[in-house]
Each structure stands twice: as structure tokens, then as C-alpha cells.
């Protein structure tokens, strides 16, 4: 039996559909986690996210997800995608200051760049600290769609440059991973990333 990968389903806007398809394409077995009781049935977690930092945290709280999530994230390999990575931070500044899950010592701030925001489209990642998740993916292109970025100094695994502005595109702390881009929307490179996650 291969590991079961749980995708946390919270809020009105989860892009669960695409992530589920991509993980399955990568050979993973998926369980969509609609309630806290399901958390015990999975071996790994994916934290998706579409929406704003504030709404995401409110939805997690409404569903009673926060402390069970914090609990399982002590041991389960976890991948945060886009906003799912951002809410791992201590604080977010989208629609006011909001407390995040606080797993990563980071803050989430608006991108200040001399170009169109949201940063939208395919861009490459520069892996500065290799790990299992990003194995074989240095300089690959992934799809980004975001207006905020994670500000962190200690757990960066990849950086990306947009209009001469460098920002954190992937983080890694032990068994916790986060990517700012959308691997589920990034063709073969994205599937390869999920293969790496399935194989962890």
C-alpha cells in the first residue's frame, strides 16, 4: 500500500480538483480531508490555498482545523501550495494583519515590484538549497499567480526573480515544505514535483 496523501479541504475556494488530479497522475493516492476526523487516515498532507490570507485562516478556524492541523504537522510530511505555504507563516498582511499557523518564521507581505502584480505566468526557480521535493527541478519553470510573498531568512530552498525582484519561491524545514507556485498547473515539471512528494 502506498502512502495516502490528504488534501485539506477548507473554505469556499479550494482548488482541490486540480491538485487531486495532479497527485494521482504522479502515482499518489489521495484522500480529500473534509473533516478533522479524517486526519488520522493519511500519511502526508497537502495544504492548498486560493484566496486571501485572512479568509483562509478564518475558514480553517471555522472548520475547527487549526489545532488538529498543528498537531499532525508535527509528524506528517506537509506540502503547502501558494496560499497554503503562506499561511504557514507567523503573520500575514492581506486585508489587515492576521496570525498564521506559525510553523515557519516568516511574514507574508505584498510584492513590491516595478512590474504588473499579481505576478502571473511561468517563471523559473533557482534552487539554492537542494532537497528531496525539488530534486531534478532546478531551473524548471512553474506557474505563479500571487500578489503577496513570503519574507523569510532561514528556510529558503528556492528563489525566483520577477522584474529584478528576488522572492522566496520554495521553503523547507524538516518535513515541512512550501512552494509559492502551483505545481498542479505547471505541466510535467509540476507532476515531477508531486512524484518527489509521493516518494518522500
Amino acid at each position: 500500500m502506498s502512502d495516502v496523501i490528504g488534501i485539506v479541504n477548507y473554505g469556499v475556494a479550494g482548488n482541490i480538483h486540480s491538485i487531486k488530479k495532479a497527485v494521482e497522475k504522479a502515482g499518489g493516492q489521495v484522500l480529500v480531508l473534509n473533516e478533522v476526523n479524517d486526519f488520522s487516515k493519511v500519511d502526508k498532507l497537502i495544504l492548498p490555498g486560493v484566496g486571501s490570507f485572512k479568509d483562509a485562516m478564518q475558514e480553517l478556524e471555522k472548520g475547527g482545523f487549526i489545532s488538529p492541523l498543528e498537531e499532525v504537522m508535527h509528524s506528517l510530511p506537509t506540502l503547502g501550495i501558494c496560499l497554503g505555504m503562506q499561511i504557514l507563516a507567523l503573520l500575514g498582511f492581506e486585508y489587515g494583519k492576521t496570525k498564521g499557523l506559525g510553523v515557519v518564521h516568516a511574514e507574508v507581505k505584498p510584492m513590491l515590484v516595478d512590474a504588473a502584480v499579481p505576478h502571473m505566468g511561468f517563471n523559473s526557480i533557482d534552487v539554492i538549497k537542494p532537497n528531496q521535493l525539488l530534486k531534478g527541478l532546478d531551473n524548471e519553470q512553474f506557474y505563479f499567480m500571487h500578489s503577496y510573498e513570503m519574507v523569510n531568512y532561514t528556510d529558503i530552498s528556492a528563489l525566483t526573480e520577477y522584474a529584478e525582484h528576488q522572492f522566496v519561491s520554495a521553503i523547507h524545514m524538516g518535513h515541512i515544505f512550501g512552494v509559492q507556485f502551483h505545481p498542479e498547473k505547471s505541466r510535467e515539471a509540476g507532476i515531477a514535483l508531486f512524484e518527489n512528494f509521493v516518494g518522500l
Binding site: 469556499v12 475556494a13 479550494g14 482548488n15 482541490i16 480538483h17 486540480s18 488530479k21 495532479a22 497522475k25 486560493v50 484566496g51 486571501s52 479568509d55 496560499l83 486585508y95 512590474a115 504588473a116 502584480v117 499579481p118 505576478h119 502571473m120 505566468g121 511561468f122 517563471n123 519553470q141 506557474y143 499567480m145 500571487h146 500578489s147 520577477y162 522584474a163 502551483h182 498542479e184 498547473k185 505547471s186 505541466r187 510535467e188 509540476g190 507532476i191
Partner: protein, 251 residues
């Protein structure tokens, strides 16, 4: 940063159709087949626009959207008849990554843009502008260029950015489907008036047209329909040619 090469599927369920001047529909094929074909050719993104939903005052057909989403590991933007937060939510759950709104926001209630941006994040909210030239300015139209709104395109573009839209799909009623080049003046004015990404559609008739647009306007993306639909050009060949001309596109 790469310029996005986007395929636009204009849908009159159950077919992808090709409107000329937003009228005179021709059947092209089945949406999921075409989406798969363009994905394999290397398209960066697909825009799925149900061009009759608003006119018939019905919702986008969700099963159709899901069929298309199932084929793609690239972003899918879906529009047509979107008028509520529930419509946004349903489309995201069926596999849309962005939702495109036009008629309701222009004619009825622009606050839908604010609400959607706050709920789903501005990156997920696209506003479709159908522009028609009147002398030296442009006016917003809706319902596939049928209904005039009285709103000035550049003013509206600025307003929707303020309201939280994350992207503009800029179409021209005058040049759409004619394959005789883009309305470069229009594209330039809109791109220079806002700080959000603009995807320019309507008019690609040759690789040359696309190069000219990218070089003169630097839009975030180019949306192409006819040129691909009639197999006069593949996405692969277009990207190759753009690269040879020093224009960055994704691998």
C-alpha cells in the same frame, strides 16, 4: 519573465465556435479535445468563455468545465454569465483557476469584483473587457459586443484594478475574429493605464501580428483563437518563432 501564450476557446455548448465580430458562429470542435490538443502543443493557459451564457441568462455549464479541466495541467480561466460569489465558487470547485466576469460587473453591480477579490484573492478574478472604438476612445460592450455600456474602456480598466481585479482579458469588438492584427493603440493604452496583468486578444492573424503586439505593448499574455483553431499555426511553432526573435516564452 515569459510572455504567456494563451488559447481562447469561445464556447457555445457543446462546441467551441468561432465568432467573427462576435457574430456568425462556426463550429470548431469539442472543448475537451481542443484543450488537450493545445495543452500538448505547449499552451501556457486556456481561457474558456461561454459566449452565450450571459445572453441566455443562464450559468456556465459546470460539467463541460470539469471535462476541460480534467485534461489540463495548466491554468484554466472560465467565464460567461458569472453574476455571483456562488458562481465563482462553483467554477473553482469544478476546476477553474480563475473566473472571468464581464456583463454583470459592467451592467449591474461592479461590487461583485470587490467581493470576489476579497473572498478568492485578486489573482483569481479576471475582468473581460470588450472594447469598441469610437473615434479616439473606446467604449465597453457586453454580451459579445451586442450591448453598449456607456463606460470608457481606460476609465473602467482603472476602476476594476482599484476594485481588486487581478487580470484583464482585453478583447476588441472591431478586430475580433478577423485575423488582421490587434488594435495596438487600445492594447497600449490599457496596459499603460493599469498595474495588473493584461491579456490581449482579438486579431492574431499571423506570427508577425503577435510579435508586433509583444514588442510594442509587452502584455502579460496573448490570447489566440482562430489562428490555432484552423491549424494554420501550432503553439509549438509560434513559441519557437518567438524565441528566435528574442521574445521569452515558457519551455
Amino acid at each position: 519573465m515569459t510572455t504567456r501564450i494563451i488559447v481562447k476557446l469561445d464556447i457555445k455548448p457543446p462546441f467551441v465556435v468561432k465568432p467573427v465580430h462576435f457574430e456568425g458562429l462556426r463550429k470548431i470542435g469539442v472543448p475537451s479535445d481542443l484543450a488537450r490538443k493545445y495543452y500538448k502543443q505547449g499552451a501556457d493557459e486556456v481561457y474558456y468563455i461561454d459566449i452565450v451564457a450571459s445572453l441566455y441568462q443562464r450559468e456556465v455549464l459546470f460539467d463541460e468545465v470539469e471535462n476541460v479541466a480534467n485534461e489540463l495541467f495548466i491554468p484554466l480561466a472560465v467565464g460567461g454569465g458569472v453574476r455571483s460569489i456562488d458562481d465563482f465558487s462553483n467554477l473553482f470547485h469544478r476546476g477553474a483557476d480563475k473566473v472571468v466576469v464581464n456583463t454583470y460587473a459592467v451592467q449591474d453591480d461592479a461590487n461583485l469584483i470587490n467581493q470576489a477579490a476579497k473572498t478568492f484573492g485578486n489573482q483569481a478574478v479576471v475582468v473581460n473587457i470588450e472594447a469598441k472604438r469610437w473615434g479616439n476612445h473606446w467604449e465597453c460592450y457586453t454580451d459579445c459586443g451586442r450591448i453598449q455600456s456607456g463606460k470608457d474602456v481606460v476609465e473602467w480598466a482603472k476602476e476594476i484594478e482599484q476594485r481588486g481585479a487581478g487580470e484583464i482579458l482585453l478583447q476588441s469588438v472591431d478586430t475580433d475574429g478577423r485575423q488582421r492584427g490587434f488594435d495596438i493603440d487600445l492594447a497600449k493604452q490599457v496596459v499603460e493605464s493599469v498595474n495588473i496583468p493584461v491579456v490581449v486578444a482579438s486579431g492574431a492573424g499571423s506570427i508577425e501580428d503577435i510579435k508586433t503586439l509583444i514588442k510594442e505593448v509587452s502584455p502579460s499574455g496573448v490570447a489566440i483563437a482562430s489562428l490555432f483553431h484552423y491549424d494554420r499555426l501550432t503553439v509549438t511553432d509560434l513559441k519557437e518563432s518567438l524565441r528566435e526573435n528574442g521574445i521569452e516564452v515558457s519551455e
